[in-house]
């Protein structure tokens, strides 16, 4: 009996070690795998609208067949950088006519509605991703994250983190230009 108990730690350690061995597989990269969406088709997802908000939900269908690439932004009211980024995105929509879709990630609908009412809503459509399921499909590593999706549903570009600050904004604008959303600046 004592012997059986004494062997338990070893057995557990061996099991955990087995998982580690599997985890070291060089083809596996815990932070990278889902982000190789670049030049891959956007994942299929269907998200309902945010209750209490007069904006339609978002699914993969909505990203298809657009004449110019569109921007998909993952945001949440609890995410502080999103608040700063909101102004940048709003400006892109207002001044440059970029089409912006939102994925409201793991957010309470009431908070999201308040947030958008306070700051204004630049999004054409917003899908509520309460479970974070779509976020996993898109392989986001945090909020905010922003994608540029082409008319054929291909992910053209991914920006991780808030598009805030001179450098970030110009990087993102450059990506928009390459995707053909913005005109090349003279």
């Amino acid at each position: 009996m004592k012997r059986a108990v004494a062997i338990i730690p070893l057995v557990l350690a061996v099991i955990v070690g087995g998982f580690f061995l599997w985890g070291l597989n060089p083809n596996r990269d815990p932070s990278e795998i889902p982000s190789v969406l670049i030049s891959q088709p956007a994942p299929s997802f269907i998200l309902g609208p945010v209750p209490g908000l007069d904006v339609q939900g978002l699914s993969r269908e909505n990203l298809l067949g657009n004449p110019t690439p569109v921007v998909v932004n993952v945001f949440a009211s609890w995410c502080v950088p999103c608040r700063a980024e909101h102004a940048v995105l709003s400006a892109l929509v207002e001044r440059d006519g970029v089409r912006l879709f939102g994925i409201n990630y793991k957010d309470q609908p009431v908070d999201a509605v308040n947030w958008l009412q306070n700051l204004g809503n630049p999004y054409e459509r917003i899908g509520l991703d309460l479970s974070g399921r779509a976020g996993i499909e898109w392989g986001i590593s945090g909020v905010p994250e922003t994608f540029i999706v082409g008319g054929d549903g291909t992910v053209l570009y991914r920006y991780v983190g808030p598009i805030v600050g001179e450098e970030a904004v110009s990087t993102f604008r450059q990506a928009l230009r390459q995707a053909g959303v913005l005109e090349e600046r003279s």
Partner: protein, 666 residues
């Protein structure tokens, strides 16, 4: 030339470690004194050689020798000297060298201070320590040579990540490693005891100071890391349940359990195989930490550059050391049981409960940390486990622990008089309840769990003081008599009171800063005013300031309360041209009641830039300062205990000291 010398002495150290890992073992098996004693000289040799290698690497950083790849990647000629020195352990290779250096320091310390150990135990302990040395030295030499040259050498270095150029973080790895690696000695002691097949109260007495020393460093290291995250990352949080934080927290939890179970082994000759198991597992978790950080197994913000080959090598080391020691345990542990019996209400039972809860908590953190990996392996799904799980699973577990912690020191060994104990603590209960009600009256609102936690923290605080007061018979006898008694009390007793009270203080800090935190985020222009927690904060504008290797935008905030000037806060946004990144330097006004915390981010819009608008993030965190105070009390309490005469080397135990302390100190 110096880097090559460094490389060469590392190889010499490996050779010595190989000798030390075998000869003393044979010596101990055959009773050959000469072979056993060889461990002493090889342990000293190792520390000298590895120390030389470490000095050689540090020299390369200090003189900015960019022909060394490691220096070119992690340093820059304009960097302040202190961060050049700290960059020595800023990379994977350098930090590993530091790891091994500390390992050999502990080995040499056992060789130097272990003269009162039995010859065979010391020889075997040092041999076990050498096994670990061999593993890590070969890892360093074969996969992560810190002295690799680069040709052609770059004109200047790529600079260390600016986030890491901070005094708090410069000291964080050495302290953490002293903790991690310190547990290696306890591990070696445990393995040696298993080989000997014998463990007694003397063994526990030798092990305790080493455990305590490692625990103190680990506590300080974790607290420092948490403090750094608090002021440097710019959003006022101090713990994120990130995998890398968790892997440093698990050895701490289990080390705390070990600290307490070793007391039972020492005083009552019980919990023997459990103490051994804890000793093995604590160091195993330290190794696991090293493995997780360096293998890229889990996603974390802390990870070093990832290399699967290195991961595989460390996994091999883990398999040998953890698998080997646990196999040894499975074989030998059943042979050594027995020891003192005790009743359900006794100090042993209290410490048993302490151990059970701490071990369960460790298991919970381990499971939460590794769950994403398990799930991905089994189902292919990828998830992350975040604060909600840990807060939900971990916090409720800690409350009963803290409750028992207040009660435990009142209990006597073997069989405690519960009625008597309750009589002694009833005022403590009343006091804690009244104080909680007072807080509830002033704070108005907040979750019930917060008040329950406060109640239990206050209970612990007052109970610890009460227990100390009982020992010195405060207010029962004239004050002078109490002072005399306090002087005669073993330092370990003072240490325990201080550390236990420190946990209570720490808890209040945690609760206050997470439950009653207020936060404002605003776009501000010069003249904009923000109101938070009774303070009026006015943004006065931004100035450009030049540092040695960065350019900063420094904001000025006027803080007023009720119309009168309180302070000016100057948060900065620093940009490092060479490393091409920016950091946030928050400005904090700290008082015991709470911190006013401000950070700024650059304007996000062209038009905002023209008008000079900035994103201002301002927080008020009540009692957050108590976190660091509590951590300091833990460290000081531990150090007091460590300086107790019983632990001091060669200090003979006077019979008087023994007879005047009927209650054991911990």
């Amino acid at each position: 030339m110096t880097p090559e010398l460094g490389h060469f002495v590392l190889a010499l150290a490996l050779a010595l470690a190989l000798v030390q890992s075998t000869i003393p073992l044979f010596g101990a098996a055959r009773g050959n004194l000469l072979w056993m004693r060889s461990a002493r000289s090889t342990a000293f040799g190792q520390v000298v050689f590895v120390g030389l290698a470490f000095a050689a690497l540090m020299r390369a950083f200090v003189v900015s020798d960019f022909t060394v790849l490691n220096v070119a990647n992690n340093s820059h000629s304009l960097k302040p000297m202190i961060f050049k020195v700290a960059a020595t352990w800023g990379s994977h290779e350098g930090s590993l060298l530091l790891w091994v250096f500390i390992l050999t320091i502990f080995g040499a310390a056992v060789a130097a201070f272990g003269s009162n150990l039995p010859e065979t135990l010391r020889a075997r302990t040092l041999a076990m320590q050498a096994w670990i040395s061999v593993g890590f030295l070969s890892f360093l030499l074969f996969t992560s040579n810190p002295f690799e040259r680069v040709f052609p050498p770059p004109l200047d270095g790529a600079d260390l990540n600016p986030l890491l150029q901070d005094i708090g973080l410069a000291m964080h790895p050495p302290l953490l490693y002293f903790g991690y690696v310190g547990f290696s000695i306890v591990f070696s002691f445990a393995a040696a005891a298993l080989i000997e097949g014998r463990i007694d109260t003397a063994w526990a007495r030798w092990v305790r100071p080493w455990t305590l020393a490692a625990w103190i460093s680990l506590t300080a290291g974790i607290a420092l890391g948490s403090w750094w995250a608090y002021y440097e990352l710019g959003w006022g949080g101090w713990w994120f349940w990130d995998p890398v934080e968790n892997v440093s927290f698990m050895p701490w939890l289990l080390g705390t359990a070990l600290l307490h179970s070793a007391i039972v082994t020492e005083k009552r000759d019980a919990f023997k195989s459990w103490t051994i198991l804890l000793a093995i597992l604590t160091f195993s978790l330290s190794l696991l930490g090293t493995f997780v950080v360096r293998s890229g197994l889990l996603t974390s913000v802390h990870a070093f550059a990832v290399d699967p080959e290195r991961g595989l090598y460390i996994l091999g080391l883990l398999a040998i050391s953890i698998g080997g020691s646990l196999a040894l345990y499975a074989w030998r542990a059943p042979m050594m049981e027995g020891g003192g019996l005790f009743k359900p209400i006794s100090r042993e039972a209290g410490l048993l409960l302490n151990n059970l809860i701490l071990a369960t908590a460790t298991g919970t953190v381990l499971f939460g940390t590794l769950y994403p990996l398990f799930l991905e392996a089994v189902s292919g799904d990828k998830i992350s486990v975040g604060p909600p799980f840990f807060n939900g699973a971990f916090v409720p577990m800690m409350l009963p622990l803290v409750f028992v912690m207040g009660l435990g020191p009142f209990l006597s060994w073997k069989r405690a008089d519960l009625v008597g104990v309750l009589q002694r603590v009833r005022f403590v209960v009343v006091l804690a309840v009244l104080a909680t009600l007072a807080i509830w009256y002033f704070a108005k609102g907040g979750p019930v769990l917060a008040y329950l936690s406060i109640l239990i923290a206050l209970w612990l605080f007052f109970a610890s003081l009460r227990e100390w007061a009982l020992r010195v018979r405060l207010f029962e006898v004239p004050l002078q008599e109490s002072i005399r008694r306090a002087r005669n009390l073993p330092r370990a007793a003072h240490g325990m009171t201080l550390a236990h009270a420190g946990v209570a203080v720490l808890m209040i800090g945690m609760i206050g800063s997470s439950v009653w935190k207020s936060e404002e985020i605003a776009f501000v222009e010069p003249g904009t005013s923000v109101n938070i927690a009774g303070f009026d904060v006015t943004f006065e504008g931004v100035q450009r300031v030049r540092g040695p290797n960065y350019i900063a935008d420094q904001g000025t905030l006027r803080v007023e309360r009720g119309g009168s000037f309180v302070t000016a806060l100057k948060p900065e946004r620093r940009s490092y041209p060479v490393a091409q990144s920016t950091t946030t330097e928050s400005a904090i006004r700290s008082t015991l009641a709470g911190d006013l915390y401000a950070s700024i981010t650059e304007p996000s819009l062209d038009k905002a830039e023209e008008s000079g608008a900035w994103t201002l993030r301002i927080l008020y965190e009540p009692f957050v300062g108590l976190l660091w105070l509590g951590a300091a009390m833990l460290v000081i309490g531990g150090s007091l205990s460590l300086s107790d005469r019983r632990f001091r080397v060669g200090a003979p135990q006077s019979s008087k000291a023994r007879s005047t302390k009927p209650v054991a100190a911990e």
